[in-house]
Symmetry: C2
Subunit: 169 residues, 2 copies
């Protein structure tokens, strides 16, 4: 959140949108996490709230990062790199698929393929729409594309094997 606030003053709603549009594939936050965190950061002097009245909409609470907030963010960048946290229901099911029916297994593979293809399409659309994107942001996008492509290749190999097994019967 502090990272997003480095450039602009944003509301909780804006921050949520930023997450969704950019880093949602490797980090996300819900409103129930964002609003309390903003209040806490305000108390800690990392951000300052400015209420912006709006017509026909609720007031917008714009949060501006303070010098202390910038320091905190830069201190985070200097802190030790943490290992990624992954929790994949899909891979757990594949791991235990010996207890599943073949159609069930095929269903998971096809569902996952659709999901990964959809995110790949989204990545490519973002790449097309924002050609002057920050080069570092672009790197994470390229990572996402490479990752999705690898997954699709893996899924297609496995789905293809299923097709062959099916033929033999």
């Amino acid at each position: 959140m502090l990272g997003f606030l480095m450039d602009d003053a944003l509301s909780g709603y804006d921050i949520k949108a930023k997450f969704e549009l950019s880093v949602s594939n490797f980090y996300n936050a819900s409103f129930g996490a964002i609003y309390p965190a903003l209040r806490k950061m305000e108390q800690d002097g990392l951000v300052e709230k400015k209420v912006v009245p709006q017509e026909g909409k609720p007031n917008k609470n714009l949060y501006q990062i303070t010098d202390s907030g910038r320091e905190t963010f830069l201190a985070y960048l200097n802190s030790p790199l943490e290992a990624a946290l992954v929790r994949s229901d899909f891979l757990i099911r594949v791991f235990f698929a010996r207890y599943a029916a073949p159609e069930q297994f095929r269903g998971w593979m096809e569902e996952e393929r659709i999901r990964v293809q959809a995110s790949l399409d989204t990545f490519r659309e973002i790449k097309r729409r924002y050609p002057s994107m920050d080069p570092f942001e672009a790197k994470t996008l390229e990572f996402g594309i490479a990752n999705a492509q690898m997954q699709i290749e893996w899924l297609d190999r496995e789905i293809d094997l299923l097709g062959k097994d099916g033929m033999e019967k």
Copy 2:
């Protein structure tokens, strides 16, 4: 946990070891989660505890899955597939790397490369050591290998670009 108990009666300690050795790359659990979960499952009749006295070691609490536990596990396999949860500190740092020093960025890339290479080595060692592994378990291992390879290729491309930039100065 129920998945691991489908084949054998296991202790909390054993279950932890199973996680570490097999699915830890896409799912993990700590003792503080496992022990309370086992007691809860016992209360719910999904598992049955059998205390096995041991010499020189604390008693082992072996948990055996019940019919109800098997049903619950199979019901899970029939439940809707959930999206994966990912939280990558590394990718967040890359995303915001315009606020970081070039040496900092290089440090993250190299650290991540070492980390991924280590897990790739572990995967290959597991593959070598367990040639008769369950085919579905093997699929998740192959996924892990493909994933690690893709990441190393991406990291090497980026590290290589850094080298070139460095030369120009």
